[in-house]
């Protein structure tokens, strides 16, 4: 039997199609016939009817039909289904035979041709003797036929031909050989298809008709057979629904058969066939769940029908095939559009198929382990006369025997032996691997990475069994990391063990060492005895010797491996292996830890390397070196096995170089950092630990960074979470878990030993040269060199500040825009220990607000670290925040000559400009001078001399000035007229003489200038005296270009008598002035209302007296006559009117207008004394 014995026959797996044979076509020599045949069979698309065509000669012999059985009474079937039956109906017995014949309707020799055609039909009928196969005739014609009914000859001759051939009219076709051949062919084959369906229908009826003759005792097998046949014919008829129904019935009938060890294979075979058909049809009908359910039922029913124990591997082979076939069907359906899910996909079936294949292999191994001397039986019991079996699933040496008793036990034994010996030749691993890789492909598709890994492990193991170690190792190595990264150590150990065997058997040094390292490590779940065996092997390998073979390896393979290892030893070559450990879990753990996160450059950098071995026996290492990002340090951090010559040292290092299992070994390293590395990070980039030596073999374990491997990050996390108190250890021993890797450190500059003080008087005033005194004092023990000062605005603040801040060392001159905001590296020179140095710094701040200033002093000093002289650069910085404020506020206002507030001024009429300078500085200010720079439009009425020169203002004090100005008429200017600038020169009172004076320019506000038609001013004395004449002169100026009519009236006042024009009407010419003279005579003392002047301009009705009153005084102070005053006083004293008296005195003081005041004051004192004396009296 072929190894594909378990494969389903092709005729079972194909899609059954109606079988139609074409005769009378000479496809080799006749071009027309060739074209017809091509049109039938070439490029058949899915939309064409399902027919399988075959060209046969007209006299082809079809399989003979068995004579009809009239009774089944004595018939005993020999098996369920004949092996040839399906093929017979698919490829041998046609549903329809078509006779092609070239004949035109107008054929001149019609009679002869007609009879020749009839003969051909007759020959076909002869060879189909007894079958229901239909016969049809196709006339190949050269001419295009006329529409039916029009060609009278045609219909006559057609009828005649049908008659001659004994054909119904429906079986005669005409195929004109014209342009539209394919179209005609399609119509023809549709007609053939109908005939074929009728044929299969009758076949189904025929098979069904047998049923009634059967009885359940002897014809059990026939029930199944007939049911299967009906289903198969239904399929040929393309009636898949009925086919499915009948197959289901057949399936149930199969399981009703009485099963025995002798026929169980036949039953299973048939059950498998029918199940396959059912599942296939279910998928075709897009009911995948039905297919799955049927398959599950099938497996459950058949799982335990193992049959003969000696051939139990056959059952597993069969099971495996069932799963594989279902997997294929499932996969096929998916390709046609079915969607599978993670938990229900073909992969599971392939996986199960692989499982049964493995089981088959196991059983075959135990059942077929015959001695080599056992010969294959002769004659071959598996050989049959025909070369094939008569019935599916029967034994070749007892075909057709239905009895459950073995008639010939000897024959049976030989047969079984033959099968077992055959099974021994089967390459099981190949089958298993194929199935597994099918499954892998599926699981990859359905997001099952772990399932995929698991199957790949199985594949790898299978390759190992198949002795393909390279492939095994490749697969195992590929999946190892998945298990490692998820921490499934049991599984990883199992995989590693297989991988170690592979690498041993191939003598792959590096792999062997790598796997050993990990199997000895803490992730390995191996027992200690195994570990010590591996460790011993590893030490052997490192000493350039062969390791012992791994247990449970194939003896032959071990022999080969031993040779390979021997070759390895003799082979000179690179014996140093560097193994990066970050991707696995080796048996030596490493952690590097700097003592501090940063080191000053003047102290040695120190760090520890912690090592711990997890192997069962102590192990020695030969070298440990640490690499840094700055490779210059590498040379300082190497521990090496002392050379043989230096034996004294060797003893010292012995202990150090030996790792005791479970003990943490600490190795201290120190080196002096380079001064260039100040401010940089020193990082451990790798730690290399060499095991073995270069004379033998050397393995370098390479840890990236400060140690740690594939498992350590998780361990560190767990250790960090743990609250467990660790038992106390003796000094200088540490708990491994408590060591935290610190793989980098910063080198920082030496701590400065100088003091930097700042002396200044905040806040700074805008634009002043603010003085900052920096005092640097050295506290170093030796001289410091190259002291440099960097001072100014601290970088990184608002960019505008940089523009408005200027720093200089020279306070004597005012600095401008060109000065920088930060002065860098001002050399100061050297400083002896204890020496102190002062530096003045001037800062000019153009805007208010706070600023950060930086004062940074750097210097060089020589120092010694570890007997090594180095030059350290130290620096100290101070920052100070200084607020800048305005030194003073300047208020400006316009007032009339009467000191009344003006919101506008009148052209050509003098007004007053008052400035008010209020000191806001907390420090005294000296106003050096002030200056009023008038705009061209303004003119001054008197001298513009500064009135505040050298005034010192304390906080909150103010200095005011008053200027009398006048503005000519300028017409109507929008926004007012510029007044000019007010310039104040000032400095701090405390500032030194040579400090420049700061000039602050204040732009004066614009003023609105308005024209008035008439200006009136009055000339009058500053005061009057009772009953003394008071001359008053009013000047009336016409400011317009018009002649003005003016009505003037003077209203009398109680306090005055007056002379002059009381009421007048006059004209004033443009630009001229009219004078009005009055003589007032005061009658009462005190502030008195003057007789009011009313002017009425006829042309300017809105020139009101209100306006007028702004220019002319409305009242005047009238003093008493001195003689009268004294008399009056005494009278008052006499009347004891004290209160009045005091009031009077007060009032009196207010009148201090000129030199009389002194006199009055004297009087007042007199008066006061007299009052006091009066009271005493």
């Amino acid at each position: 039997m072929s190894p594909t014995q378990w494969d389903f026959p092709v005729e079972l797996c194909c899609r059954p199609m109606a079988f139609v044979t074409l005769t009378g076509l000479d496809v080799v020599y006749n071009a027309v016939h060739r074209a017809v045949w091509d049109a039938f069979c070439a490029n058949r698309r899915a939309d064409r009817v399902p027919i399988s065509f075959k060209v046969l000669p007209g006299d082809h012999e079809y399989p003979k039909c068995r004579p009809k059985r009239t009774s089944y009474e004595w018939y005993i079937p020999k098996g369920i289904l004949k092996t040839g039956w399906m093929n017979k109906h698919l490829n041998l017995v046609p549903a329809l035979v078509v006779v092609f014949y070239e004949l035109d309707w107008d054929e001149p020799q019609w009679k002869e041709k007609q009879s020749e055609c009839a003969t051909r039909v007759e020959i076909v009928r002869q060879s189909l003797q007894g079958r229901n196969t239909k016969v049809a005739v196709v006339l190949i014609q050269k001419k295009t036929p006329l529409p039916p009914g029009e060609d009278v000859i045609a219909s006559e001759r057609a009828a005649a031909l049908c008659n001659a051939c004994e054909l119904s009219g429906k079986s005669l076709f005409v195929l004109p050989h014209t342009d539209h051949l394919v179209g005609y062919i399609i119509r023809l084959e549709n007609a053939f298809y109908e005939h074929a369906q009728t044929y299969y229908y009758t076949e189904i009826r025929r098979v069904k008709s047998h049923k009634e003759f059967l009885n359940k005792t002897t014809h059990q097998l026939l029930f199944v057979r007939h049911q299967f046949k009906i289903a198969f014919f239904s399929e040929l008829k393309q009636d898949t629904q009925n086919a499915l129904k009948n197959y289901r019935t057949a399936y149930n009938l199969v399981h009703e058969l009485r099963a025995h060890e002798t026929n169980i294979l036949e039953i299973k075979t048939m059950a498998g066939f029918i199940n396959y058909k059912i599942c296939r049809l279910c998928f075709q009908h897009n009911t995948p769940l039905d297919a799955i359910a049927q398959f599950r039922k099938h497996i459950d029913l058949c799982k335990k029908k193992i049959g003969s124990a000696e051939l139990s591997f056959e059952h597993d082979a069969w099971m495996s095939k069932q799963f594989q076939a279902f997997g294929d069907l499932f996969d096929e359906a998916i390709k046609l559009g079915l969607t599978a899910i993670q938990t229900q996909n073909p992969g599971f079936y392939y996986q199960q198929a692989a499982y049964y294949a493995q089981e088959r292999k196991q059983l075959a191994k135990t059942l077929c382990n015959h001695e080599a001397s056992v010969m294959y039986p002769n004659p071959d019991p598996l050989e049959t006369q025909t070369g094939v079996l008569d019935f599916y699933g029967q034994r070749s040496w007892r075909q057709g025997i239905l009895s459950f008793d073995l008639s010939d036990p000897e024959k049976e034994k030989v047969g079984i032996l033959a099968i077992q010996l055959k099974e021994r030749n089967v390459v099981h691993s190949e089958i298993i691997i194929t199935l597994l890789s099918n499954a892998v492909a599926q699981f990859k598709k359905y997001k099952c990475p772990r399932m995929k890994s698991h199957l790949m492990v199985q594949m790898g193991e299978e390759y190992y069994y198949a002795k393909d170690y390279t492939k095994a190792l490749k697969l195992l190595d590929y999946v190892m990391c998945d298990y490692r990264s998820e921490g499934w150590w049991t599984l990883l150990t199992s995989i590693l063990t297989t991988a170690l065997k592979c690498s041993y058997l191939m003598a792959q040094l590096k792999d062997y060492i790598t796997y050993s390292l990990e199997l000895l490590g803490r992730a390995s779940t191996l027992k200690d005895d195994q570990k010590s065996r591996i460790e011993k092997n590893l030490i052997n390998v490192l000493m350039n010797e062969s390791p012992d073979p791994e247990p449970d390896c194939d003896i032959l393979a071990v022999k080969t491996a031993q040779k390979l290892w021997a070759d390895r030893i003799s082979l000179a070559g690179s014996n140093i292996f560097t193994i990066g450990v970050q991707d696995f879990v080796p048996f030596v753990q490493c952690k590097a830890k700097f003592h501090a996160p940063s080191f000053h450059v003047d102290v040695p950098v120190q760090f520890d390397i912690y090592l711990k071995a997890d192997c069962p026996h102590p192990i020695r290492f030969s070298k440990l070196c640490v690499s840094f990002n700055n490779q210059e340090y590498n040379q300082f951090c190497v521990i090496e096995e002392a050379s043989k010559a230096n034996e004294v040292l060797e003893n010292l290092t012995q202990g150090k170089m030996c790792l005791v299992p479970g003990k943490t070994r600490k190795l201290l390293f120190k080196f002096v950092a380079k001064t260039e590395d100040v401010g940089k990070k020193i990082e451990i980039t790798s730690v290399d630990l060499a095991l073995g030596n270069e004379t033998g073999r050397c393995v370098v374990l390479n840890w990236q960074g400060g140690g740690g491997d594939a498992a350590s990050s998780q361990e560190a996390l767990q250790a960090a979470r743990s609250f467990k108190r660790r038992p106390k250890l003796p000094d200088n021993e540490v708990h491994w878990d408590s060591i935290i890797i610190q793989a980098s450190t910063m080198i920082i500059s030496r701590v400065p030993n100088i003091s930097v003080h700042l002396l200044h008087e905040p806040p700074a005033l805008t634009n002043e040269m603010y003085c900052l005194v920096v005092t640097v004092q050295s506290h170093e023990k030796t001289q410091i060199r190259d002291v440099k000062l960097t001072a100014g605005l601290k970088p990184g603040q608002d960019a505008n500040l940089t523009q408005k801040t200027h720093v200089t060392l020279h306070g004597t001159e005012l600095c401008d825009e060109s000065y920088p905001a930060l002065l860098t590296d001002i050399p100061i020179g050297d400083l002896h220990p204890g020496e102190q140095l002062e530096k003045m710094l001037y800062v000019r701040c153009g805007t208010v607000g706070s600023r950060m200033f930086l004062v940074y002093v750097s210097y060089l000093i020589n120092t010694t670290v570890e007997e090594k002289e180095i030059v350290c650069k130290c620096h100290k910085d101070e920052t100070v925040t200084i607020e800048t404020v305005f030194p003073f506020d300047v208020a400006v206002k316009f007032v009339s000559t009467k000191f009344e507030h003006l919101d506008r001024v009148y052209a050509d009429i003098p007004f007053l400009l008052m400035t008010d300078l209020l000191s806001a500085s907390p420090w005294a200010l000296t106003i050096v001078s002030s200056e009023l720079q008038l705009a061209p439009s303004m003119t001054t009425v008197d001298q513009l001399e500064s009135q505040v020169d050298n005034v010192i203002l304390q906080t909150g004090e103010s200095a005011s000035e008053c200027f009398c100005l006048q503005c000519p008429s300028l017409g109507n200017v929008e926004g007012g007229v510029a007044t000019g600038h007010y310039i104040i020169s000032w400095k701090r009172t405390s500032a030194m003489e040579n400090i420049p004076v700061i000039t602050t320019v204040i732009t004066l506000p614009h003023v609105i200038v308005e024209n008035i038609p008439l200006h009136v001013n009055a000339d009058l004395p500053s005061f009057g005296r009772v009953r003394e004449s008071l001359p008053v002169k009013y000047h009336l100026q016409n400011k317009t270009d018009l002649v003005q009519d003016v009505e003037i009236s003077v209203e009398p006042s109680d306090a005055f008598m007056f002379s002059g024009l009381k009421q007048i009407r006059l004209r004033i010419l443009p630009g001229t002035e009219q004078e009005m003279l009055y003589n007032f005579y005061p009658l009462m003392a005190g502030y008195q209302q003057l007789p009011s002047l009313n002017i009425n301009l006829l042309r300017f009705p809105n020139f009101t007296n209100q306006l007028l009153r702004r220019f002319i005084p409305t009242s005047i102070f009238v003093k008493v006559k001195l003689s009268n005053f004294l008399l009056f006083k005494f009278k008052v004293l006499k009347t004891n009117r004290l209160l009045f008296h005091v009031n009077f005195t007060e009032q009196y003081f207010e009148t201090n207008s000129d030199s009389f005041a002194f006199y009055y004051m004297y009087l007042a004192v007199l008066l006061f004394i007299s009052i006091v004396t009066f009271y005493r009296i």
Binding site: T366, G487, T490
Partner: protein, 164 residues
Amino acid sequence: MGRGLGGRVTSGGSRDAVPGAGPPKMAVCIAVIAKENYPLYIRSTPTENELKFHYMVHTSLDVVDEKISAMGKALVDQRELYLGLLYPTEDYKVYGYVTNSKVKFVMVVDSSNTALRDNEIRSMFRKLHNSYTDVMCNPFYNPGDRIQSRAFDNMVTSMMIQVC
């Protein structure tokens, strides 16, 4: 020694053991898996290949992961912890359960054990969860470490098929 025989012997043995041993013992393998998918606890029937169950539990995490990610969108309080049947194999059924802290429980049950309904599995998981919670409450237990608790062990034993 035939395939399938092993399974039958085990389940048969358990059935024999049941009447005397109180409540039916059902699981053949029980595992607790950490959030990061490494095993915290795994125990299987000692008679059978331990590795096989390890692989089975490990591969079932594919389905667990998928179910969790599908569940991620659901509201936390509406979340069902019981994941149901993860996937069936020929001989075993694998059930899953995930706690709110993404610790997974996986239980492997013999396929032939038809007496076991979804409800029983659910209640077994709940018992397991309670016992696990007790383990977590132990101040000496460091979350993420392998579970080495006698109480938990006993609980698992009570749910496992006992082999005579």
